[in-house]
Amino acid sequence: MSQSRLLSVLVDNKPGVLQRVASMIRRRGFNIDSLSVGPTDDDTVSRMTITVHVGRQQAEQATKQLAKLIDVITIDDITGLRNVAHELVLLRMHAPPGERTELLNLVDIFRGRVVDVAASSVIVEVTGSPEKIDNFIELMRPYGIKELARSGVVALVRGDQARIRLIDFVVDGEDESAAPRPTDAAGDTTGTV
């Protein structure tokens, strides 16, 4: 069974890193749902947040292959952890002066804001989980979306501890993908990356 895995990846801030990561994911046949990249507090390091749609064994393989890239410092599969995974959407809405109030009320409910106003349209900005963004977009559709831009997810795990560390893979319990083996026992594919 495949699902979305949320990978938080720290990489050396060097030219070509994005291509290496994207190229590896493509070559190994994984699908990227979302990928965002930006600087961190350390200017030699960038953080990539990648959502890949894969089975669990595949996710592990994707993670290990990513870790193998020389420019990748750490990689953390934060799927299912208590995390903040947010994205930002900008919508240019059809909004002639007389029809704005209802629209702006909805924006308000989603804790969004208007960031640009023109004669017959507005640009609104909403941040939040991808599901919230999806819902907001659906609500906006009847009013006439003229243009839309989504940032892709960025995420951090909640709590005091920064998760900049090497991780172990420990597979416990049955693998949900069609792993040929072990069929009756837990597999050990532990690999420090």
Binding site: V11, D12, P15, G16, Q19, R20, S23, M24, R27, Q57, E60, Q61, K64, Q65, A67, K68, I70, D71, V72, I73, L166, F169, V171, D175, A179, P180, R181, P182, A185, A186, G187, D188, T189, T190, G191, T192, V193
Partner: protein, 587 residues
């Protein structure tokens, strides 16, 4: 002023001693090209395979000033990449080096880099690139070399500043030769080859937080493996190229002998365990020995070391080792663990380190019944050939070769039937005597690679076993071989067809022969002689020994064409889509 190398050195000799009395070489001002060449020397390079062109001419401008760098002018960049691969593969600890110019020169390296990448061979490719100001403008002979080679190299670098040249080369060699080795490409713009800067080769070992050293083996897991071995009734070890790369052959022998575990190997693992050892099985898998496949399929504890479990090993995945209760996988690359086959116990470590520590934990034991069973399978399923036609068989040629050199020759095989014959019909009793493009399966690999092998092993006899198909794919290197008098015995097993493809078509594709007829091939005697090679040919069994004697006595490259039975097939073989136990043997 940019001095020549000589006057730079005399400048250095005048340097004042430092506070500890050592004479300190002041940073010298050198061109980027000189810095690169000096850096190669610092990395222990003595041989470079290369081809000049517009974008690497500064490297070639200064190359003659470094006589310790022996440059071999290949006739095609692919040949250069394979030769560098052969050099590194056959000389433990070395890194193969290839130069190419920008655009077409660099792109001609791709197949060679892919070959080295799949088989984990340390190669550093230095490609000229158009000047930094011209990058991205589609200038003459410009191509995106970094992008084009990204998926076939371990890592790559585009040099953007002159002061980065030396550290980049140092890091490139470090990445190429450590961990799971592999090819690294350095794209070197022409303007930076000419730029003058101070040369300081970094003393400190390369440290990158994103490239940690391989982990030490997990002691608890090694204990668990030792325990599994103790309880095993039907243990089998499979060894891959990782054992050879790590130099873990002795440790493997010790483990096998201590606990009496039969050892099989992958195509690339050939030589990791002595073929004539009483505990030896043979090659496993698609074209492996029947008794190896039977042993693997009956094993209760299977220990896989330094291998990838690719489809040529497992055949149909669900047929691989169906009775195994405890599957153990030891590999230096965590991504190989669980990629194709999910183990019960895994250890991520260098094979030598892991086996050394495992051997301390394993108690001597012997499963008599199991070993008797294995011996019985060996008798029932010997690797054998039959001669129905009376024509010269390829195995007869290989047997004659083996009789003349035993453990003293390095054999390279190309790809196809000749590869499997050469793997099965020599008793490789020492490591490093059989080399081939096992992963990528690059036809045309063996001939250029054999140049690198001979240059790295000048005192060894080198046989290049190839077919008439693969040989012509890179036959231009005859010129290189003759020019440098590289003493390789090229054995063409000529069956006037693309033999392996023909065999597949006959057996698996309804017997329709399509585009496999190579009856129209050159007269190899005339061809060899045109290049200045000693060339001989026969189709008679009684001439084989004499021609081999003559070839081996000759100081210089020899082309030996053997016209073999065009119907000769590779056996055993598992029909496509079938399982490990469905192997078909010679009848």
């Amino acid at each position: 002023m940019i001095g020549t190398r000589t006057d730079q050195r005399s400048g250095a000799a005048a340097a004042a001693p430092d506070e500890r009395g050592r004479s300190v070489e002041p940073a010298r001002l050198l061109t980027g090209a000189q810095i690169a060449l000096e850096s190669l020397i610092r990395e222990g390079v003595d041989t470079i395979f290369g081809y000049p062109g517009g974008a690497n001419l500064w490297l070639y401008r200064y190359l003659p000033e470094y006589p310790e760098l022996h440059h071999i002018l290949v006739r095609h960049e692919q040949g250069g990449a394979h030769a560098a691969d052969g050099y590194a593969r056959s000389k433990r600890g070395s890194v193969g080096v290839v130069f190419a110019t920008s655009g077409p020169g660099a792109l001609n390296l791709v197949t060679g880099l892919a070959t080295a990448y799949m088989d984990s061979v340390p190669v550093v490719a230095i490609t000229g690139q158009v000047p930094t100001s011209a990058i991205g403008t589609d200038s003459f002979q410009e191509s995106d070399v970094i992008g084009s080679t990204m998926s076939v190299v371990k890592h790559s670098y585009l040099i953007t500043r002159a002061e980065d040249i030396a550290p980049t080369i140092k890091e490139a060699f470090h990445v190429a030769r450590t961990g799971r080795p592999g090819p690294v490409l350095i794209d070197f713009p022409k303007d930076l080859q000419a730029a003058v800067t101070a040369f300081n080769y970094p003393d400190a070992p390369v440290r990158r937080r994103s490239y940690p050293a391989p982990p030490q083996p997990d002691a608890a897991k090694l204990r668990r493996i030792a325990h599994l071995i103790e309880g095993a009734k039907r243990p089998v070890i499979l060894a891959g190229r990782g054992v050879l790369i790590a130099g873990a052959e002795q440790e493997l022998i010790e483990l096998s002998h201590r606990a009496h575990i039969p050892v099989g190997w992958t195509l690339l693992g050939t030589g990791a365990f002595p073929v004539t050892d009483p505990m030896a099985l043979q090659m496993v898998g698609f074209m492996g020995a029947g008794y190896t496949n039977k042993a693997v399929c009956d094993a209760d504890v299977l220990i896989m070391i330094g291998m990838r479990c690719d489809d040529r090993v497992t055949t149909r995945l669900d047929s691989f080792a169906p009775r195994v209760e405890h599957l153990v996988h030891i590999d230096i690359d965590p991504a190989e663990i669980g990629k194709n086959v999910v183990p019960h116990v895994s250890v991520v470590a260098d094979a030598k380190v892991a086996l050394r520590e495992l051997n301390l934990l394993v108690e001597p034991k012997r499963e008599h019944e199991w070993l008797t069973q294995i011996d019985q399978w060996k008798e029932e399923h010997p690797v054998r050939y039959t001669n129905h036609t009376g024509l010269l068989q390829p195995q007869e040629v290989l047997e004659e070769m083996y009789a003349r050199c035993e453990d003293e020759a390095i054999v390279l095989a190309d790809v196809g039937q000749n590869q499997i014959w050469a793997a099965l019909w020599f008793n490789y009793r020492k490591p490093g005597l059989f080399l081939n493009s096992g992963g990528t399966g690059t036809m045309g690999y063996a001939f250029p690679a054999s140049m690198g092998v001979k240059l790295a092993n000048p005192h060894k006899t080198v046989f290049c076993v190839t077919g008439e198909g693969g040989f012509v794919m890179n036959m231009q290197e005859m010129a290189t071989m003759v020019e440098n008098n590289i003493d390789v015995n090229v054995i063409i097993l000529n069956n006037s067809s693309l033999g392996m493809v023909r065999q597949f078509q006959d057996d698996f594709y309804g017997g329709v022969r399509s585009a496999v007829d190579l009856t129209y091939t050159p007269d190899f005697i005339k061809l060899g002689e045109a290049f200045g090679m000693k060339a001989m040919s026969t189709d008679r069994r009684e001439d084989v020994g004499r021609l081999l004697d003559e070839a081996m006595a000759h100081k210089g490259p020899v082309l030996l064409n053997f016209d073999i039975d065009p119907g000769a097939n590779v056996y055993p073989i598992v029909p496509l889509g079938m399982g490990m136990l469905d192997f078909v043997e010679a009848s």
